[in-house]
Amino acid sequence: MPPTAEPRRTAPVGLVVKGIAGLRQSVPALLALIFVMRDEGPILWIALGAAVLVLAINFLVAWLQWHRLTFHVGEEDIRVESGILSRAARSVPYERIQDVSLEQGPLARIFGLVQVGFDTGAGGKDDLKLAFLTEDEGEELRELVRARKDGTAPVGEDGETAPQEAAPVLFAMGPSRVLTYGVFEFSLAVIAVLFAATQQFEFLLPFEIWDFDAWEERLAGPGAWLSGLGPTAQIVGGTIAATSLIAVGFATGIVRTALREWGFLLEKTAKGFRRRRGLLTRTDVVMPVHRVQAMRIGTRMVRRRFGWHGLKFVSLAQDSGSSSHVVAPFGKLDEIWPVAEVARFERPGENVAWQRASSAYRFDSMALAFAIPALIALAALAVTVAAPVDEVGYPVLALIPLALGAFLAAGQWIEWRNTLHATDARQILSRRGWLAPRIDIAPRVKLQSVDFRQGPLARWHGYGTLHLGVAGGKLEIPGVPEARAKELRRAVLDSIATTDFSELNEG
């Protein structure tokens, strides 16, 4: 695809894919139409004819749209002109393109097509998308954008465009790893959806779901034997129900994970991290190394017992979904850290001086957690004293909120104990969480702003929350004493002062 070529159109086969995708929406409507009018004779045929006509018009419009959409890969930008009656022309300069992503739905995969997305960091739906190009065209376009970008950058470590060299694999997940991951993604979301659906479409069912008398009646016939079986059978029944629920939870987790993560492959190419994943919809994303703003290693309560963690990068380009920049979703720490190190993050060593929030912050948060339940307990006591009741035990009830308060305060203490922050030569580090700890690391030069916030209580006790602006994410450190905040801020500002942000992201 030479850059100065004529304006081009997207792949014509794409029309078929779009057409089929459109049909998928209209077929249920058509079926419903046939079903409703099945006894109407000629009217049915007229309706069907109209439907076919509408489909034909839709197709014509789609064809016109395709015909009128041209894109032009220029010296400095990519231009797209589109629209049948009202024309729109859009130009995206190469320097502004953060990511080029390739996405394939199941249909597109059959036809060998990709949807090319140009992420400009403008946020989600405003981004330029070309659907559909052939796989080769998409790949070529991506290489070209990368090459152009490097051409405009003042210094490129790897100036020449090496198109398809064997890239070192940083992280990959085979089928067994994906399945293990799925097991840990146990989810009862399906049950919730089913439950919501039964409420939503209850009126369609031939009986009342919530009418328990009717259920009893219904069970009294064929179900009578069930109640006649005695407690053992009921226990067995309950166990079977619980087991099937658990099985559904595991199955949901495994299926969802397999669909998303199948064939997960993260490579280090000359242009950055390249991630491919997905079973039916395969995505292919490239993220330049220098655009990584921060990282997070997280885990969950149960999987942590088995040593599984996940690594995510925070990047300027904010594409869709929360799991967008996951670079190693499920792995052991020894597999994950090398990936982070490729992005120039440093694994904190033993000598890093981790600091906790101030003890005044600990006291305040525990006191606040305790205060509300304690007030409730006091109120309860006051009521029992003012209007004594014969029964003993009412004052004892006041102990319940007190216990709750103590529990919450203990929770705050545990949180305080497990909230740590540190700085090293280049980075700022933050650790949070007890059962599922996570660690956030951001290089200080990549921070955007430093904000120190204090509420009335915090001002009185001389601490505050330090909010650090990260492009595409956030990092906050609670309960930092004023002197320490000053110190951290100076460290950050000294690191920033030397480098301009746009330089940082080009070089």
Binding site: G469, V470, A471, L475, L493, F501, E503
Partner: protein, 170 residues
């Protein structure tokens, strides 16, 4: 450019975690805040007067406290809020301090500024003031507002920050 800015040492805002002395905002900013507070308090005052007029409770039981609180909100609070605000424009960073009860102390290095706005609301136009807003790429604190600057100062600051950005990128 610091010379062109109003300096009022008698209302120096309190220091938080700062290292440099803060420049107070333009004194007219108090008037803007007062008018805003008055507009906010007006409906409550009217409501209390209406309740007085209906004569359901002894005289003054609604109007007196409401008017007192309104007077406090209109006269005292804006002054204190004004005194709590301040900024420092350093060699390569902008620091904005604000907040009476909940204090916030923000520093934005010029090298991280993506774009700059100078806005004037109708009230600010009456007093020839403007709000300077700097935008960063960060998700938290994506835009930092600095209200109550003389319009010319705001424009001068914008030019200065822009010059920095250009110098640092070229």
């Amino acid at each position: 450019m610091d010379e062109s800015l109003p300096t009022r040492s008698d209302t120096a805002p309190p220091e938080t975690v700062g290292d440099d002395p803060l420049t107070p905002l333009h004194p007219d900013h108090v008037s803007v805040l007062r008018i805003q507070a008055a507009l906010f308090a007006l409906p409550f005052v009217i409501a209390s007067l209406v309740l007085e007029a209906v004569d359901i409770l002894p005289m003054g039981i609604f109007a007196i406290p409401v008017v007192l609180v309104a007077a406090f909100v209109v006269i005292r609070v804006p002054l204190r809020r004004y005194q709590a605000k301040g900024y420092t424009i350093g060699a390569n960073r902008l620091r904005v301090v604000r907040g009476l009860l909940f204090r916030s102390d923000t520093v934005v290095p010029f090298g991280r500024v993506q774009h700059i706005d100078v806005d004037q609301g109708p009230l600010e136009r009456m007093y020839g003031l403007a709000t300077l807003t700097v935008h960063t790429a960060g998700s938290h604190n994506a835009s930092v507002h600095l209200p109550g600057l003389a319009h010319d100062d705001a424009v001068a600051m914008r030019e200065e920050i822009r010059a920095h950005i250009r110098r640092e990128t070229v």
